[in-house]
């Protein structure tokens, strides 16, 4: 069994919050959409290497590339992202897609949360920080969010 298979076996069955339904927002045509990345990799652009924001988030300037990976888990590969940020946070790929007209534009700011939260009810994220993040994104004219884990 691969190392990742061992880890997945441990997290596949962790409790998840029971959302009773699945909401659905109709996306505009991709070529007209402003796209933001929201990652749960615990990335930061302030040079800080540890995550102290709980279920909160940090704002990543769209031009920043010297990001740190503040995620606490030792159980994933970190070499890929050290060599190429885009393997977790595909900000350069989105810029290329915008230049090619595949997407409308790239948001000026992206957001980073921390995955692997121990509180599976995600109460703070669902009721407080998540809605605050959505407001920030709407204020930036974001139509579509690309969610990336680590």
């Amino acid at each position: 069994m691969s190392s990742d298979a061992i880890v997945r076996r441990g997290v596949d069955d962790i409790d998840a919050f029971d959302f009773e339904s699945t909401p659905c927002t109709v996306a505009p045509p991709l070529a007209q959409a402003r796209v933001a990345i929201v990652t749960t990799a615990g990335l930061r652009d302030d040079g800080v290497g540890s995550w102290s924001d709980g279920q909160g988030f940090v704002v990543l300037d769209g031009a920043a590339r010297s990001l740190t990976l503040a995620h606490v888990s030792p159980n994933f590969d970190r070499v890929g992202v050290a060599a190429d940020l885009n393997v977790v946070y595909p900000v350069d790929r989105l810029a290329e897609m915008a230049a090619a007209g595949t997407i409308g534009s790239v948001a000026p700011r992206h957001l980073s949360f921390m995955g692997a939260q121990l509180d599976h009810t995600m109460t703070t994220m669902r009721l407080d920080t998540g809605p605050a993040a959505a407001k920030l994104l709407r204020d930036d004219g974001v139509d579509v969010v690309l969610l990336t884990p680590v």
Binding site: A82, R93, L146, V150
Partner: protein, 231 residues
Amino acid sequence: MCALAHVFEEAGIATVGISIVRGQAVKSHPPRMLHCDFPLGRPLGRPNDPVFQTRVLDAAFALLPRTDVPVLEDFDVSITDDADAPLTCQLPPRHDPSLPAAVDEAIAMRPAYNRQLGRDGATTNVVRMGGPDRVPDLVAAFVRIADGALWDDAGLDPKKLGAAALDIRAYYEEAAIALADHIPAARQAESWFFRSTETGKLLRAVQKIIRDADGPREAWFRLVPVGQPPP
């Protein structure tokens, strides 16, 4: 991540996500997910491969028009980690036999670490405990534990042993990219570090010492990934 998809869609923002733990996506049923059977830590699949990464994004964005939610589709390529095929690379020569082997080895890694950090697109994960200058001192703290010091009397706050181990491991793994002169497959550098280097073997030994002594979980849990075999 799945919870955020629900929140954003409720707020009127369409979402599409990349899933790497399928069970969680099934349980949380977010609107649109592309499951990618890729190594943990590499959700876009292949570092420094813009064509492949763009293909993943195209597949994800292709789900956006779907309103028959929840949608969970599988990407048509799988990539597995190579933890069982450790990276092979020559260790740099050590200089000071009067130092503990692991500390001397860590010092010898610095030129390779610096070379990697100087490459285009490179970032560093050696950021928790004072940066690369501090790594030899961190290694020395683990040497003291291996030599019999109590983990709370080795010069490091026991709550920070995990952060120190992450920094040390990142320092070696990033140096390994330069030593090998290519980006290793997922977990190859991890296995090289824990199975072939003095410092990696030291961390495994210290984890065993603390666990066997019923030390606090926070002092040992993050020293070694769960996929690495015990010493």
